[in-house]
Symmetry: C2
Subunit: 231 residues, 2 copies
């Protein structure tokens, strides 16, 4: 699902600084002389690591190298690309930014769920379980938007689904997709109130995306989910 | 910005049914023997045309052709891909769906605006000026989400910005991007209350995307916008 433009840049790069979750198939698109540096953030100390990544990008660019910073999904949709871009700009580094297919849309689509649908959903909101602020903020978002997508939803899933159930009702259709579009993609679906225990029972791992709204039920009975398994 | 997967499918297609706004460069990715059919919807009668498109897809697929239905952006984010997919499934046609980079994210990024930003915006909502329902729905969405993206915002822009100003204040930073990522891309930015007259004064044409939120002001002073003009 990488873009043609991104593939061209990978082929030309001297250095590629990539996140931990980038697949080997994607890294294989780099040229033969590329130097790969994995800079993925996992767990704590994100701030310090983020500064290290930016410092390394600036160091390599100033040394005259053509550097690609490769992120999964879209770098400006909960990808902290905005921060890196601003710091590089302040350092006087020339940057081009190439959008990608965001997990916010790829995850629902991987289980056949269109995030909008005429007559069913004319708005979609996206947030994360961690960065979304208070449960009250999450509830307001769920009430205002027809479809809600919660990224990085596996940790604290019980609290998130409980808050959402208060906002839009325990029976609102929901689906949790783990490792969307990867070979080991898995999902559980059902009413909002059942998603957390279903995920525990099935041992659904992080990272996972939660999608809540009538579009989820729509995708089911029409066979859209079954049809698209072959993708 | 097309994906590698989409390009492969275009190269193999017998027929490509494409929307009106697809660029000649993209259509040039098709194989030499492809038959192109433009099925773009403009103005009224969308329902009837939509049925015609689906009927044609089914006719060609049943005749044994490999058919690509090519849409700009992402087909399942206000692209009516969900409808086409469901009807094809009901007709027993095998379909694979390939996500694309949505205008909902590509448009803000084309003017250097990250839709999320740590400490500034941890949620984003997307809707359209036409399909978003009542002004009250739009206002609730603007209040609940840190960043709001309104697709197809040129028509009725005055009403939309007035409703949003009631919800989040007339001084909330906003930018309107016309024909995002295309060679003739143009934009105007300023406080929400100024966007409609700025767009009229500058003659900004449809289709255009409106982005509202503090991330817009963030992108400006740091030079992110200027830096990314070279993309």
């Amino acid at each position: 699902m990488i873009t043609v433009k991104a593939r061209e840049l990978l082929a030309d790069a001297d250095y590629v600084l990539h996140d931990a979750l980038i697949s080997p198939d994607t890294l294989a698109l780099c040229g033969p002389d590329v130097r790969l540096e994995r800079v993925g953030k996992r767990g704590g100390q994100e701030g310090a690591l983020q500064d290290d990544i930016t410092a390394r990008l600036i160091e390599l660019a100033r040394a005259g190298h053509f550097v690609v910073r490769l992120k999964g999904g879209d770098p400006f949709v909960f990808g902290r690309g905005g921060e890196e871009l601003a710091q590089l700009a302040l350092a006087g580094i020339d940057v081009i930014a190439v959008p990608g297919v965001s997990a916010a849309f790829a995850a629902p689509e991987s289980v056949g769920v269109p995030v909008t649908m005429r007559g069913i959903a004319s708005s979609v909101a996206i947030t994360t379980a961690q960065g979304g602020g208070s449960p009250a903020r999450l509830e307001a978002l769920a009430r205002a938007a027809d479809t809600l997508v919660v990224l990085m939803a596996r940790e604290g899933l019980g609290e998130v689904t409980a808050a959402l159930a208060r906002a839009v009702g325990a029976t609102r259709p929901a689906v949790l997709v783990s490792k969307a579009t990867l070979p080991d993609q898995r999902s559980v679906s059902g009413p909002l109130s059942d998603i957390a225990w279903l995920a525990d029972r099935e041992g659904i791992p992080a990272p996972a995306t939660l999608i809540v709204g009538d579009v989820v039920a729509y995708a089911g009975p029409t066979g859209v989910i079954a049809m698209r398994q072959g993708r």
